[in-house]
Amino acid sequence: MLVISRKSGESILIGDDIEITVIESQNGKVKLGVNAKKSIRVLRKEIVDEVTAENIHASSKNDDQSIEKIGIFLNKEIEK
């Protein structure tokens, strides 16, 4: 991993399109500003990890047939 020291107000550039600026750093917390094209989605990594865990939790090995009853129940509940 490339390790770079930066002070508040200093930036790094990633490729031509991404600029990351350290806005402030206090008590072990760093505030970053990201300047990038709209076509680049910037995400906190823990969100990606959480989504991955939820996907795995949501997946099942088979298509459970009891789903019909639940679906019809839900449909009625939502219509209320």
Partner: protein, 132 residues
Amino acid sequence: METDKPMDITFKREIYGFENIKEYTLTKASESADNPFRFLKASDGNVCFILLDPKMIDRSYDPVLDDKEMKSLELKDPADMRIYGIVVIPNDIKMMTINLRSPIIINIENGNAIQLILEDDRYSIRHRILGC
């Protein structure tokens, strides 16, 4: 509805955690017209997700796609876009949740799909479907 027929789906950006699976089939979860669930079944047969249209829960739900995501769907007509949330149904079905934070987006014209992760904190990964 055109999504009622089984449809082959190819993920252009795979479901997070399932990067080895690109091919799925989207079907109705059962014959009943009153059952809003869909199944997203991996073509290898070992993985299945339950999907629901998030607009049933939140009428204002309107995730924004970036240029790259639009390109990977190869969407020619916005009317061909379908949005689904992955549902988790625990034993106590009143506690079932839908993932509004990372919807599945499908182009029903060509079967291209992606899973998005929205930056918007308002959308929960585990949104309770039936009110509290």
